[in-house]
């Protein structure tokens, strides 16, 4: 029953439909096995992955693909760790060759302390990627003006931060997130900052199309259980948004009828 409802409300990114509106990262887990178990519990169909040099001294080291099958789960190559447009472009061109698909996540960071997105470099990289035929989901600040510029440049999804990467501080600027959602014609996915399931629910209640998280699950005491909690939180938030919440009131309004009181 629930599943049927979800199927009617897919997340569509770059023409691909996803039943789950949760995207999870694959960093910081104790092992790839734990990561795979958390993925299973989360119900996510898309995971972010990094592109890194292969280990030449130990080419037989465990590989992500041995635990999370790229045929079953969409790998979303990410440019985490890139601080210039040029680095990000190089990484994604390699990612396209490694994976054989065009859907990628762009993030160009400004500094190590905040990992805040450098929007000027991000927009620059995005324009080149679009020309080269990539479908680009873009990590960005919660600035509605820049969100619009990204969309105009052809972004496949706008991914504003809830708060700083890995901070777990939740959605710090719900007003801006809502502004971005209201004007967007492409999916808006809150990326970064989610710490607790309630944070994910808040993002979804604001009307976001999805949530991306990594640390909130990977650094929970029980990552598999947290992954399951996040799955439910995203569904709850989405359903709540679609249901339309009651208006807020300043004073009490009794739920039981006043007529017939003894």
């Amino acid at each position: 029953m629930t599943e049927k409802k979800e199927e009617l409300d897919p997340l569509i990114v770059a023409g691909r439909a996803f039943r789950s509106r949760l995207i999870i990262g694959t960093g910081k887990y104790k092992s790839y096995a734990e990561n795979a178990a958390a993925l299973e519990a989360s119900g996510a169909e898309m995971v972010t992955v990094a592109v890194r040099r292969v280990n030449l001294t130990n080419p037989d080291a465990p590989r992500l693909a041995d635990f999370i099958d790229p045929q079953k789960t969409l790998y979303l190559p990410n440019t985490a760790g890139c601080f210039t447009a040029e680095e990000a472009l190089r990484t994604l061109r390699l990612a396209r060759e490694a994976g054989g698909w065009d859907l990628v996540k762009l993030e160009v960071l400004a500094d190590q302390k905040t990992l805040y997105p450098d929007m000027e470099e991000t927009l620059k990289a995005l324009k080149v990627l679009i020309k080269e035929g990539f479908q680009v989901m873009v990590y960005c600040s919660d600035d509605p003006v820049y969100a619009r510029k990204l969309e105009d440049a052809g972004a496949a999804a706008i991914m504003p931060l809830g708060s700083l990467i890995g901070s777990g501080l939740g959605v710090q600027n719900p007003v801006n997130i809502r502004l971005i959602v209201e004007q967007a014609r492409t999916p808006v996915i809150v990326d970064a900052g989610v710490g607790a399931p309630s944070d994910a629910a808040i993002a979804m209640e604001l009307g976001c199309d999805g949530v991306l998280m990594n640390t909130a699950i990977a650094e929970a005491k029980d990552p598999v259980r947290m992954a399951r909690a996040m799955k439910h939180a995203v569904i709850a938030g989405r359903e709540g948004y679609l249901a339309g919440r009651m208006p807020k009131k300043r004073y009490a309004d009794p739920s039981s009828p006043l007529a017939g009181l003894i």
Partner: protein, 66 residues
């Protein structure tokens, strides 16, 4: 001749292809992506792309990340 692969110097023979080099270091060519002197080498060209002395190769794969 010498080539650099992921920052490490390796000895290669004249006539070695990218594919030969990948296999010689124990890598499965289908599972990695290669950049040679800043240019992507398409996977379909590993076997026919011959190495030259001083080539700089980057060999990458997908790993866990956020």
């Amino acid at each position: 001749m010498q080539v650099t692969i992921n920052g490490e110097t390796r000895v290669a023979r004249q006539g070695d292809s990218v594919e030969t080099l990948l296999q010689s270091v124990g890598l499965v060519p289908q599972k990695v992506a290669v950049e040679r002197n800043g240019e992507i080498v398409p996977r379909s060209r590993y076997a026919i792309t011959m190495l030259a002395d001083g080539d700089r190769l980057e060999v990458v794969q997908f790993v866990g990340g956020g």
